[in-house]
């Protein structure tokens, strides 16, 4: 069916060409990183993870959000989602792929990537993350592809597909839980060392993921004349709103625990992020923007008259995505490293190379998503 992604109009090919150009930039930058080492990034001895891991964390959430469609559709027979379940599954595929590419980009020795499987270490969360991410990617790809193939042929999907889909539901929760455990199990990094990290990750994932799905439906309606329907969007908006509320609630509990207990180590990272520590707080404006944008967006999504307005809905979704992207994609990682084990505050500014690689990976993910959705929509709108 992939041949359907090789046929398209001028707009489609222009978009693909743009993505390919960005991918080219990314590949060039990555080649530079490969030759010179990760030193070409802004990461260093103290902030040893940066944009790559941040994007990875954010995208795991996007991947997991497919479950917000799969679960209601397959377990609760929510017919409103019939047209976009596949969009969710393919979004999960491309997000999971990007996750793995970001991990690969972050590795000092990508040539040894197979060591994770050749020397499996169950005590390491990375090992589990590789398993669940790969598993999730293939679960979604295979089940989505099989359902689509059956639809194209006009026959019922094979019985085994159903079981893969059921399996993908707990699996979606597992990917983000394991990703949270990557961080939450590390001693001495107090921002991460919290039991609420996994629930918070899930809440933010379901908020940002559904927002992205809503935005995708608008894009598809516009560029592909494929409308998932207002009912689907409304249902997603409600799901996203409550997830957003939960996310804000978890953030609040973090603040309470840290500041009411008054344990310095627990407060430091939050102080650094939201108020500045020792006079240093480069992220303060961003974090506040994130917080306020998050609150407003969730407010809009919660209000039926507001979310019914297309413009408002789009604005709220963008706001929610940006808010969570800053919170998870910027604050979480950098905040976790600051202050350092030696109580120092270290700045981290991603370099051009690093940003190019990041854009390149995003472009790969978007290209894969574009092609998958092109296939899906061609099949879904096929005349016969």
């Amino acid at each position: 069916m992939i041949e359907k992604a090789l046929k398209g109009g001028r707009g489609y090919w222009t978009w693909v060409a743009i993505l390919l150009a960005v991918i080219g930039l990314g590949v060039t930058a990555y080649a530079r990183q490969m030759t010179l080492g990760l030193g070409v990034t802004g990461m260093g001895r103290d902030i040893s993870w940066g944009v790559y891991i941040a994007q990875f964390t954010f995208l795991v959430g996007v991947a997991a959000s497919a479950v917000m469609l799969v679960l209601p559709y397959y377990l609760h027979n929510q017919k409103a989602f019939s047209k976009i379940v596949i969009v969710g599954e393919f979004l999960a595929v491309s997000a999971a792929l990007m996750c793995m590419l970001f991990i690969l980009a972050d590795m000092g020795r990508p040539d040894r990537v197979l060591n994770v499987l050749l020397h499996p270490s169950p005590h390491s969360m990375v090992f589990w993350d590789v398993l669940v991410l790969n598993g999730y990617l293939f679960l979604n790809l295979i089940s989505g592809w099989a359902v689509l193939g059956a639809e194209r042929k006009g026959v019922a999907p094979a019985p085994w597909v159903k079981w893969l889909i059921y399996l993908s539901i707990p699996w979606a929760f597992s990917i983000h839980t394991v990703t949270a455990f990557l961080f939450a199990g590390l001693p001495g990094r107090h921002l991460w060392l919290t039991a609420v990290l996994a629930p918070r990750f899930l809440a933010s994932a379901f908020a940002a993921g559904t927002a992205i799905l809503i935005l995708l439906t608008f894009i598809l309606k516009r560029v592909a004349k494929f409308d998932a329907g207002d009912e689907a969007r409304t249902k997603l908006a409600v799901l996203g709103a409550y997830a957003g509320v939960a996310n804000l609630f978890f953030l609040g509990t973090e603040f309470f625990t840290a500041f009411y207990s008054n344990v310095p180590a627990h407060m430091h990272s939050l102080q650094y992020l939201y108020f500045g520590l020792d006079g240093q707080g480069p992220l303060v404006p961003y974090m506040w923007f994130s917080l306020i944008a998050g609150i407003i967006s969730v407010g809009i999504l919660l209000s039926p008259p507001l979310r019914r307005k297309t413009g408002m809905l789009i604005a709220a979704c963008i706001g929610l995505v940006v808010s969570i992207w800053i919170d998870k994609g910027v604050g979480l990682v950098i905040g976790g490293f600051n202050p350092t084990p030696f109580e120092a505050i270290v700045d981290y500014i991603p370099t051009f190379t690093e940003i190019s690689v990041t854009l390149g990976i995003w472009a790969i993910g978007l290209l894969v998503l574009t092609m998958l959705l092109k296939v899906a929509i061609t099949v879904k709108t096929q005349e016969t």
Binding site: G154, Q382, E383, T384
Partner: protein, 548 residues
């Protein structure tokens, strides 16, 4: 239904029982050459009558049947086959390369409509070619002669000839397998060679050779003599007048006409082809075309193609010969499948150069048909599409609202010529309801009607209905999904063969020629109020009492 075909329900049951398998029967542990060849009612065509062979000066005229034990092959038949094969390997690089380069990857296996319909393993295109290759290997490769089973080679025996006869007459040369072959191997080419070889020893098919003889003598397959030919068309002219109130004026054998129009004789005599003919006549009248019809070159089809290269050339030669005699500028060809394969791929090479003609130019729009520069023959669909594009036709597509159409690409026009868009363009302009069949069954992947290449015989009905099953299944799909009831084609054999096929598998679906729909939609000058289509069926929304 024909006594030569099982009842539809029986055949359906056969499919239900074997699904999801495609193969019929158990073959585990078997080699293909051990599977016996079995002739029974419905799976073989009657051999050519001795008088037909005599007329054509073809060898070994005799009375025989495929079910006979002894086929009365001529003395020395093995040598005839071997020499014939060597000769053709020398003359056709295609044959040689196709014999040498198959890797048996199996991509073609489930592409053949006869395989899909019969489940007979030897109907997999690769197997069909192996029937010849196994003999070819004996001749070219010393190792193969010794290691027969290892290399898949075998001795030439009467059994092999029977097998060839069976399976090279269960191939309609439709080239669908060739589309998928990574080596570009074209089974049609191999079938052509095999049929030539079989004809050398008098193993043949009356349904092919009788039309060949007729065509040679009278100019058309049915053996219609000139006066009858003219009368038939004139009776269509009467019918047109009855339906439209307009009297069209075709001319015959007229010297000095601008254009010579040639269409398969099926359009002149066969139902539903005649309605397509009426469509042409209306169209030509509508635009005031200066054209003539020949009673001598009165056949577009060319069953020589299914006989031998030489016979193809011989029958085809009449077209240029007549065009030259009449002094026309160029030739316009009607809707036909294999006629167009011959015209497109062979005519200029065989009987050209046609320097006595001019590069075709539409007298109505002035469009130069540069793609027909050498052959000087234009396809009616190209011609009409050009007219519509230039707004030269007054069309009312609503007049076809009583039809819900789908379009069947004819194999030869699709895969032997590459015409896909023009007929669709016309169809979309002359009717309002058009739905494509599933994508793997149209355009270059179109399925044959199951009766092409001279296999349209009544006594062959069993295989025809099976071979047509993939096409029928695709029609059934759009029938269910879009209530399609009209199957439009641009091939005379399709019109003749899809009709019983639809009756068998999809009752209620009728077969139409493209230009019949054009004829329905044309708003003619001076026409009477149209309430019926060319078949005298009521049109939707044009009832008598429907005053405006």
């Amino acid at each position: 239904m024909s006594k030569y075909a099982p009842k539809t329900e029986e055949l359906k049951k056969e499919f239900e029982e074997k699904k999801p398998r495609l193969l019929k029967g158990k073959f585990d542990g078997m080699d293909w050459w051990d599977i016996p060849v079995e002739f029974r009612d419905g799976n073989w065509c009657f051999p050519a009558k001795p008088e037909v062979l005599d007329e054509l000066h073809f060898p070994n005229p005799r009375k025989w049947a495929a079910t006979d034990k002894d086929w009365q092959l001529p003395a020395n038949w093995e040598k005839t086959i071997r020499d014939g094969m060597k000769d053709r390997l020398k003359r056709f690089r295609s044959f040689k390369v196709f014999m040498d380069s198959c890797v048996r990857c199996g991509a073609c296996a489930d592409k053949c409509h006869f395989f899909l319909g019969t489940g007979d393993p030897k109907n997999m295109p690769v197997m069909r070619a192996e029937l010849v290759r196994s003999i070819y290997r004996q001749d070219v490769n010393a190792f193969a002669r010794v290691l027969t089973k290892f290399s898949g080679s075998r001795k030439l025996t009467p059994e092999v000839i029977k097998e060839w006869h069976m399976y090279f007459h269960q191939c309609t040369e439709c080239r669908r397998c060739s589309v998928f072959c990574p080596m570009g191997i074209d089974t049609a080419e191999i079938t052509m060679m095999a049929r030539e070889l079989l004809n050398l020893i008098g193993v043949n098919n009356n349904w092919i050779l009788a039309p060949v003889a007729n065509c040679n003598r009278t100019g058309n397959h049915l053996g219609i003599e000139p006066h009858t030919f003219e009368q038939n068309i004139m009776s269509l002219v009467d019918d047109i007048e009855e339906v439209t109130g307009v009297r069209v004026n075709p001319t015959f054998n007229r010297k000095g006409a601008e254009i010579l129009f040639i269409t398969p004789s099926g359009d002149v005599f066969g139902d539903p082809g005649v309605y397509t003919m009426m469509g042409y006549l209306l169209l030509f009248h509508h635009i005031g075309l200066d054209y003539t019809i020949s009673t001598y070159a009165s056949e577009g089809g060319n069953f020589g193609t299914f006989t031998s290269n030489e016979m193809m050339k011989k029958l085809n030669a009449k077209m240029y010969h007549e065009a030259k005699r009449l002094g026309v500028k160029w030739i316009l060809g009607g809707e036909c499948g294999h006629m167009w394969r011959v015209v497109h791929q062979y005519m200029a090479t065989m009987n050209g150069p046609a320097d006595f003609l001019q590069e075709p130019v539409s007298p109505i729009t002035g469009t130069k048909f540069t793609n027909a520069k050498a052959t000087k023959m234009v396809h009616i669909a190209e011609f009409t599409a050009d007219l519509i594009k230039h707004n030269k036709l007054k069309l009312d597509p609503k007049r076809n609202d009583h039809l819900r159409t789908t379009f069947h690409d004819s194999c030869n026009v699709a895969r032997g010529m590459g015409m896909f868009e023009e007929p669709r363009y016309i169809l979309n302009k002359v009717c309002n309801v058009f739905h494509e069949m599933p994508e793997n069954t149209i355009r270059e992947q179109t399925f044959c009607c199951g009766s092409g290449s001279g296999l349209n015989a009544e006594e062959f009905m069993d295989i025809r209905m099976r071979g047509g099953f993939p096409r029928a299944s695709a029609v059934a799909h759009v029938r269910e999904k879009h209530k399609v009831d009209s199957l439009v084609t641009i091939c005379a054999i399709d019109r003749a063969s899809l009709t019983p096929l639809m009756r068998y598998w999809n009752p209620g679906v009728s077969v139409y020629g493209l230009h019949e729909l054009v004829g329905n939609a044309l708003i003619m000058d001076g026409e009477k109020k149209r309430t019926e289509d060319l078949r005298e069926n009521d049109m939707a929304g044009f009832e008598e009492d429907d005053d405006e």
